[in-house]
């Protein structure tokens, strides 16, 4: 048997073992019980004072729900994810969801390395000026839109925009606990990564992505942040700023005003349900989002907005007739488009196997094989 196997020094595992244990929330005592090792032994392993065998490492990986390669990761800085695990715990987010998100981000990084993918230019950081006011949100949104070359146009696909021009990794996972909407983390090695609740509609997810982008550029020193439903209606200045930024980023003031004057020349008195639906479709946002945007731009009063929202039901015939419901509720893919491109390109270049491709895409091997077979795209033996 060949001796040319990867055999790293076991001393390197300590920090990552501790990181994996704390991220899943186990105490030394709990792990001791599951592994049959003394607490002092695990403590020595974590501090790098005791050698860990492959048998022990494998058992750790099972308990901590991590692939074995996690413990061999040379990029040991997990500061941002350590923060995320803590805030996710406070927000009652499933630990497994955050671990899955972390693994997806690691896989993205591995694919970039494997494919020698170009490193994206840096993401702007405005955290030094601590922006928090509504006016600052409007200004910053305009600056960002300008830098992204959007002018007054609606953002047709915020995923492509932020992944393509900012290099942000945006993943979807279903999360039903804790009213989770989205999260961001800015990791030294993995870059800016967003997790969005796949159970939400496209329009809602679009707003959540813009909201997380606000945190990413304005509150980056937090390193990680979790948003629940409550955060979107909170009086917390950071959340109010992120909401205002998201609204201005997705629905620029000038364009809203121009469009509204076309649709509703007499303005506030004639802003009807169908006007809101038309605007929501144009900007790719929800009926609620455009309603509150008109309030913030003083186009309608709060009372009018509440009345319009009460009137609107998403299954209404008008919404259906105007095309509001089209393509809004299909489940998004777990992985971003560029990630999928890199994975497929790696497979086509025979850098990874088909089984690995399916794993990276978080798809069932047999289902993916069937899809490839049906379209005659299988790579030859």
């Amino acid at each position: 048997m060949s001796d040319k196997l990867i055999t790293p020094s076991p001393a390197m595992f300590g920090g990552l073992l501790k990181s994996a244990r704390t991220s899943i929330g186990y105490t030394l005592k709990e792990v001791s019980g599951q592994l049959g090792l003394a607490i002092s032994t695990i403590s020595e392993i974590e501090s790098g004072k005791r050698r860990v065998s492959m048998v022990e490492l494998y058992k750790f990986s099972r308990i901590y729900q991590r692939p074995v390669d996690f413990f061999f990761d040379q990029d040991k800085s997990n500061t941002a994810f350590a923060v995320l695990y803590r805030v996710a715990n406070e927000a009652l987010l499933e630990k497994k969801t955050v671990i899955d998100f972390h693994e997806l981000c690691r896989d993205y990084k591995s694919l970039q390395k494997l494919m020698k993918s170009t490193v994206m230019p840096g993401i702007p950081d405005y955290s030094a000026s601590s922006p928090s006011s509504y006016e600052q949100a409007e200004t910053l949104a305009e600056v960002e839109r300008s830098q992204l070359g959007l002018n007054g146009q609606p953002i047709k696909d915020i995923y492509d925009l932020l992944e393509g021009k900012r290099g942000i990794k945006i993943f979807h996972l279903p999360e039903v606990t804790g009213n989770f909407s989205g999260a961001f983390t800015f990791d030294e090695n993995l870059g800016a990564c967003f997790l969005i609740n796949s159970k939400h509609s496209l329009r809602r997810r679009t707003f959540t992505v813009a909201h997380e982008y606000a945190h990413c550029i304005a509150h980056r020193t937090q390193l990680a942040h979790v948003d629940t439903d409550q955060n979107f209606s909170t009086r917390n200045p950071h959340e109010r700023f992120a909401n205002a930024f998201a609204a201005a980023f997705l629905m620029p003031q000038k364009t809203v005003s121009e469009l509204l004057s076309q649709l509703s020349p007499e303005l506030s008195n004639s802003v009807l349900s169908e006007t809101l639906i038309r605007l929501a479709i144009y900007f790719g946002v929800s009926y609620e989002a455009i309603g509150w945007r008109l309030v913030s731009l003083r186009k309608i009063s709060r009372a009018q907005c509440e009345s319009l929202l009460a009137e609107h039901t998403k299954s209404s015939a008008t919404a259906k007739l105007l095309g509001y419901l089209t393509n809004d509720n299909s489940d998004p893919d777990v992985t971003p488009r560029h990630y999928k491109y890199l994975a497929y390109a790696a497979y086509k270049r025979r850098l990874i196997s088909f089984e690995r491709l399916a794993e990276l895409l978080r798809k069932n091997y047999y289902e993916l094989k069937q899809e490839f077979s049906d379209s005659n795209e299988e790579v030859a033996e």
Partner: protein, 161 residues
């Protein structure tokens, strides 16, 4: 008589191709019971197939019940087997099922049935004693041993495409 001199760990690729051709049991039952080992992960992945998992699961359970397949898992007490497994995972090229299959084959002295060229190459690199077989090679062996006719093989092969 079995042309397989040793037990064979069979991976997703081979199971998938033969199943799609409707020939999983027909081909594998030609050889003596106990010839083929399948890692648990591969069986579970087959059963998780959203559209066909239930039916494939029935076929796999049937093959296990009549000892055509034997479920096998990584030996979590073996330093060497786990070392090979970790090596496979760290390469980042292979899936979990392939990594386990290769670790088991290389460590226990079994052979490997896989259609993935890189997996077969890596397996031979780790242990030159391991023989590897593709689905087509298995079918050719069945013809050479007179277990299936060329017409039957042609029919199966056409459905595998």
């Amino acid at each position: 008589m079995s042309p397989f001199l040793r037990s064979v760990v069979i991976d997703n690729d081979v199971i998938s191709r033969l199943y799609r051709a409707g020939a999983l049991r027909k081909v594998l039952e030609l050889w003596r019971a106990g010839t083929f080992y399948v890692v648990k992960h591969v069986i579970e992945e087959g059963k998780r197939w959203p559209s066909e998992g239930y039916r494939l699961g029935l076929v796999l359970d049937d093959l296990i019940n009549v000892s055509i397949f034997t479920i096998v898992t990584i030996d979590d007490t073996s330093e060497k087997e786990l070392e090979i497994y970790a090596h496979m995972v760290l390469l980042g090229k292979f899936g979990k099922g392939e990594s386990e299959s290769i670790a088991i084959a290389c460590h226990r002295g079994y052979d490997l049935a896989s259609d993935d060229g890189a997996a077969k190459d890596e397996c031979r690199r780790i242990s030159s004693a391991v023989s590897t077989f593709t689905t087509r090679k298995i079918l050719e062996m069945a013809v050479n041993d007179g277990l299936l006719t060329q017409n039957e093989i042609d029919s199966i092969s056409s459905k595998m495409k």
